[in-house]
Point group: C2
Chain length 355, copies 2
């Protein structure tokens, strides 16, 4: 049917191809049409391969993104509250708009649910989702309902940019600094606690639970980054190393992280001996990871109302190594190629991207 | 948490509430925010309750719709081909844009897939979806991938109207005629064949299979209807009676169908003794059901390149009866309250609507 299809080994499974292989397959199928004549293709500014899609609207750049949460893959109903799930379903999508520096406006909600569900539970979910939407000034304008063996929640958000600029994955340059908002590893630490790791202090437990179930998307911060000239960003969903790797692959650069500079929350350092792994490979923090020259980052940091930490720098592309970890003495330390990949391991959803 | 939540009987199941009850629950939760101050709420033209959502863009009315197909609920992988599934996943969404009289432009694809899937199969699906998208001049701009126990496909389409007009569900008036494009019941007849009903003739079998798996969304036709002054339409997805009932409820009117006038394909009349039931209650034809005065329908019919059949008329609201079926002598004949409803029975997906 196509060159790609011919190249596929018969009886190859999705688990052999992997999530990123599947994304490449979709991406190359799409590329055959991207140069199609006229509208809508000629208006597309960002297709498959970034945090959100973008196209030229009448006066503004339009943005759209979609994310799916699958029961027992992305959430466990034994530990997450329905109100927390309502927040998270919207937050993970808002984070993708934030990572483009955009303004979210409208959302569609697609629910696949088992018939045996409690109405009280789904009602809590709906209330929380609507409330979260109002907090971020997003109107839930429609959606779809279907029966399914387990709970699957797909949210689509449509928005636009403030001006003509966007935050991209593909614009990082050698010599730039790498910075991240807030803390990394808090969400993964929260998950470890929820899976059984004992945390005796109530305040600490609450902080960790919130970090995992109610991450705050950096919507305002994304816009502030654009206002101050930042061009490159991604949200930390797959994990710091994995998401930096996405930037490196899109920008055709490499990167160095000084692991001593990682912004690890004191609560994580104090309670989790593996805090460095949590910070490097734990995903779902929904912080913004961005690159820019020193002066730009200094200006952006001044304007942002949250912690900003410089954790390394962008270097020339050195294949096959893309992300190098350095200890305090500047020695290279080995790392496990991190980040979630569906079909090969379990973990959170991934946007279409071309890693 | 809310008045709605308080009104819910403890331990009530989704199967008790039903799909349309759930839609009302979401709709009333949303209504609490619809009058929220300023953007984006003040720009919303059509929220929950029609074939697609609509809001005022910079120069044009923007449209967005989403639909989910769930394995073993909406399709059976033992009988549908992967290429047919690629077509159908896009077509059911295009049909919702068609039912607003809109022009589809961009699509997002969200796939939840089991790891044991054959790459060759998913590749066929992707190729077919991309090819269908090109045929309807829609750019696939992004999406999401996740692992899941079974195949779940969610497509979101974003488009706009041609001018300032839209086709709505809520604008039907007493005295108007009711018309439908093409044939009704072909898709349901196809499903009966696929489930085992013997059809010996190859051409007939092929026609029925295509009607069920490769329905053609009436995208051009929707725009023609608007051009000729039609204001009210819905696509036939739940079934003719059920979808006419949606129009009646939204418009606060009743309707009469003359069952002798139903456009049933000769192949269905010849092979299916229950052809009238298939035409009245079988869904997924994705034809356009519309209402207008006699002269408007006559003009629209002249301009349309497909069959258009007048099947009845809109009457004043007569609760609780909304849709009345009349035989050739004008006698009322009983009918089973038709149409799919998730959680209570199995069937195709339903848009958020306020029946």
């Amino acid at each position: 049917m196509s060159n790609e299809a011919n190249a596929i080994i018969p009886s190859m499974k999705l688990s052999d191809l992997g999530e990123f292989g599947l994304i490449r397959l979709i991406s190359s199928a799409s590329a055959r049409y991207e140069n199609s004549r006229g509208a809508p293709w000629q208006e597309v500014l960002v297709g498959i391969g970034d945090d959100a899609a973008a196209w030229q609207g009448d006066n503004r750049i339009q943005l759209a993104t979609t994310d799916t949460l699958v029961q027992d893959v992305h959430f466990d109903l034994d530990i997450i509250g329905w109100d927390e799930l309502g927040w998270k379903a919207l937050a993970v999508n808002l984070s993708d708009i934030a990572a483009m520096g955009g303004i979210p406006k409208y959302a569609l909600l697609s629910l696949a649910l088992p018939a045996h569900m409690e109405v009280e539970d789904i009602s809590k979910f709906i209330d929380s989702l609507m409330h979260t939407a109002e907090e971020f000034r997003v109107a839930i304008v429609g959606g779809n309902i279907a029966a399914a063996p387990n709970v699957i929640i797909t949210v689509t958000i449509i928005g636009h940019t403030k001006g003509k600029a966007m935050l991209r994955r593909s614009t990082a340059s050698p010599g730039e600094q790498i910075a991240v908002t807030g803390y990394v590893g808090l969400s993964a630490a929260g998950l470890e606690m929820l899976k059984g790791k004992a945390i005796s202090d109530y305040e600490t437990a609450n902080l960790l639970r919130r970090a995992h179930f109610k991450p705050v998307p950096r919507v305002q911060e994304g816009q502030v980054l654009i206002d101050h000239g930042v061009k490159t960003a991604i949200d930390v969903s797959d994990g710091l190393v994995a998401d930096l790797d996405h930037i490196c692959q899109s920008s055709k650069v490499s990167a160095e992280i000084k692991i001593g500079q990682l912004p690890v929350h004191p609560v994580v350092t104090a309670n989790f001996p593996n805090y460095q792994d949590l910070a490097l490979y734990g995903g779902e923090d929904y912080e913004l990871l961005f690159t820019a020259d020193e002066a730009t980052i200094a200006r952006a940091r001044q304007a942002l109302g949250c912690p900003v930490t410089i954790i390394g720098s962008i270097t020339r592309e050195e294949l096959p190594t893309r992300v190098t970890l350095l200890d305090n003495k500047g020695n290279i330390i080995p790392y496990r190629k991190g980040g979630w990949e569906h079909f090969k391991n379990e973990g959170p959803q991934t946007k279409f991207s071309q890693p």
